[in-house]
Subunit: 211 residues, 2 copies
């Protein structure tokens, strides 16, 4: 059965991007440090078409999190506004001609646009009628597989607040960002149960089920 | 050798007390849920002069965290302003005639006051000349044992910001408080390394060393 899941790297003070984010610097100050651990893993590198990387606990966690994903949903800022700010039909997002998603991706936006088919199995669909509609479309595309809320903070927070998330896996990175994009903001009082903890050397992975 | 340590229960969104704290309600809205897990442990109950409680991972973590403590430091709000707001010499804090600390306790405050000797080994010392002075006095009292920064958020944040903490043990409670007393605020960019993770059923305990 389809699960609606999310997994994201979060600083110890609860941010998924650092302060002073801009279109040119979407991770904000020091925000790239949230992802130092993942770009060293074998599984992430394989997914992004790169060689090498480390096997082990971190890599296994990423592997499991990305497994059985049939469709993804992301916020507009994760798809990526162009540096100038305005979208046009030539802009294909941050992720290049062969994005690492390899599934249908539903982008939450206010700007209607035709679907954009990329190399490697990713097709971007631009959804202008809200998170429930995006989830409905993603579920239909995913079939028996899972729907991943890919990010960023705002998209995940909206699905959490609406009670639509089944599972949230946090990669707790031991850094303090002091500002930026706050996870778990405006989400009400969700019922969370930790069901799996993986203590990797640099990052603590905690998987929560939503009640 | 003396270590300067702290351990505290924190919500998944980084608060150690809920919103709308008042002198009558120092834990704020829903803040008492941060401590549900600990008051069920055998070790906490013993320390607070109560019987019963559960053994197991949570109890063992509390036991280890409270072991070898020779002196403690706390903020004024943890000692406890009286409900009316003003201190007088009759006010003996939140913690009753026999407080659970059983060591010298250095209270960070702007109000000078004579030391207050309580039953059971706790003596409150009121320190008006800053966190370094309090730590110096606590170190002297602790001898070879450790100094515990008992709380709350502000006291811990100040010691973190000053680079004076050796170890921070977080009891990560899977609740979202949405506001309140924020841990890790204004602490700069401390170097933290997770050195121990205990995955108890309801709470995830992560011990960090400060670099």
């Amino acid at each position: 059965m389809t699960e609606v899941r999310s997994h994201i790297s979060v600083s110890l003070d609860g941010y998924v991007a650092g302060p002073n984010q801009t279109p040119q610097d979407p991770l904000g100050e020091r925000g790239e440090r949230l992802h130092d651990w993942v770009i060293q893993t074998e599984s992430w590198r394989r997914e992004h078409g790169r060689e090498g990387g480390a096997s082990g606990a971190d890599s296994d966690v990423v592997d499991a999190a990305q497994r059985n994903v049939g469709a993804q949903i992301m916020g507009r800022n994760m798809f990526g506004p162009p540096a100038g700010g305005a979208w046009d039909e030539d802009w294909k997002g941050w992720w290049g001609d062969e994005p690492p998603f390899r599934t249908p991706v539903y982008v939450l936006t206010h700007h209607p646009r035709e679907p954009l088919e990329m190399d490697g199995g990713t097709t971007y669909h631009f959804v202008t009628d809200g998170i429930e509609s995006a989830l409905e479309q993603a579920r239909a595309a995913a079939g028996e597989r899972d729907v991943l809320i890919a990010g960023g903070a705002s998209a995940i927070n909206q699905y959490l607040a609406a009670g639509l998330l089944d599972e949230l896996l946090l990669h707790i990175v031991p850094i303090v960002l002091g500002g930026g994009a706050r996870l778990l903001e405006g989400v009400g009082d969700p019922k969370l149960e930790p069901v799996e903890v993986v203590a990797a050397p640099a990052v603590t992975h905690v998987r929560y089920r939503l009640g």
